[in-house]
């Protein structure tokens, strides 16, 4: 399950930030996960629950996930369109040739620390 690797990457980022900013505990971490990204937010939350307790830095930390909307460029009508499903047709012209331009983000946005 690659969500576990990704969650460990999140913790690695938090450790790096702790060294940089000099804090000892993360109370809240907020991620941005695009609607079209290849991770399941529920799995990330589950994995974070399993991983967070391993370190005093993240023990007891809460994770919140913000979804970034999907967006694509349609090769048929040339428009930039919202897209909630990777396999959906263009909502403007019904075309199937879409190049995804947004919604694949996987970022650590911000955190509350002490």
């Amino acid at each position: 399950m690659h969500e576990m690797s990704l969650t460990e990457s999140v913790v690695r980022i938090l450790e790096g930030e702790a060294a940089r900013h000099g804090f000892s505990r993360v109370k809240l971490v907020r991620l941005e996960i695009g609607e079209l990204s290849h991770v399941d937010p529920e799995s990330i939350l589950f994995c974070f629950g399993a991983v967070a307790g391993r370190s005093p830095l993240t023990s007891g930390a809460e994770m919140k996930i913000v979804r970034a909307p999907g967006q694509a460029h349609c090769l048929d009508c040339g428009d930039t369109v919202p897209l909630a499903d990777r396999l959906a047709p263009c909502p403007r012209c019904g075309g199937a040739r879409l190049v995804i331009t947004g919604g694949e983000e996987m970022r650590v946005k911000e955190m509350e620390v002490e």
């Binding site: 990457s9 930030e17 809240l28 983000e105 955190m111 509350e112």
Partner: protein, 271 residues
């Protein structure tokens, strides 16, 4: 300096100057603070991937990341490919599996150098594993490096290894709907190889539907059909590799010529 709490560390307070809702955040001033991070979760992997890509460019190595479900015939295709290419160009292989070195042994039997990575519980190769493997395997300059990923149509899609292209191998025994079921993988791939075509007469596999599904998730994907077992259709695949390698070599030649010109210019100006 922050006008809310007066500290000098870049950070952020909920409740103003941004779009989304923070009313549910506790913000106990003095003991806790918000810090803006804005870091890509894959940044660590992507950093290693960028280093691998620089090594490949510098040394003229064409790296191909072969992805598929288990049992698609990746290793059989690789053995056959190595046999066909080894007289024409240097070839090396990195094998990824959770356990065993069976695949690396199969490759070495063809005479090509191979390095086995065992991921243990891991479901994919990452760029750091490849960086370590490169230090051990040391593929020749101007060679083709095949990286056989862990058999899995989900997780390897997320991890850039620094390769020139991902090649998705799909066998016709798996069903034509796989590109729709695992769209991330087929979207990340430059080429889809439909393998085991010798079995088509015995199956209901709809080739046209499969290609249409692949193009639906990735309009620019190239599709080749072959049978690694019989060798039928192997030549277009070998030509696809040779063409990609010509690009890699052309880039390297350009960069070496630029370096040479810079050294000549330095030599002339110092004369």
């Amino acid at each position: 300096m922050c006008t809310v709490c007066g500290c000098d560390t870049p950070h952020h307070h909920p409740g103003h100057d941004h779009g989304h809702d923070h009313h549910d955040d506790h913000h106990d001033h003095g003991s806790s603070r918000m810090i803006q991070v804005e870091r890509d979760i894959l940044a660590h992997n992507d950093g290693h991937a960028a280093r691998n890509r620089a090594v490949f460019a510098e040394r003229g190595i064409l790296a191909l990341n072969l992805v598929s479900s288990p049992g698609s015939g990746k290793t059989t295709l690789l053995c056959r490919t190595v046999e066909a290419l080894k007289a024409r160009m240097p070839v090396a292989v990195i094998e990824g599996d959770q356990q065993t070195s069976f695949d690396a042994e199969r490759i070495r039997a063809t005479g090509a150098p191979a390095f086995q990575i065992n991921t243990g519980k891991g479901c994919h190769l990452d760029a750091h594993m490849i960086e370590s493997a490169l230090a051990r395997l040391r593929p020749e300059e101007d060679s083709v490096l095949f990286i056989e990923n862990v058999g899995n149509l989900v997780c390897p899609a997320a991890f850039d290894l620094g390769e020139a292209a991902k090649v998705a191998i799909l066998s016709v025994t798996e069903g034509e709907d796989k590109p729709l079921k695992y769209p991330h993988m087929f979207q990340a791939a430059s080429l889809m190889v439909l393998n085991k075509t010798d079995l088509l007469p015995h199956l209901d596999f709809d080739v046209d539907a499969c290609v249409a599904h692949a193009r639906r998730v990735n309009p620019s994907i190239t599709v080749l059909m072959l049978s690694a077992r019989t060798g039928d259709g192997l030549d277009p695949w070998l030509e696809w590799i040779a063409e990609r390698r010509r690009h890699t070599l052309a880039h390297r030649a350009e960069s070496l010529e630029a370096k040479l010109a810079a050294v000549r210019a330095t030599m002339d100006s110092s004369g």
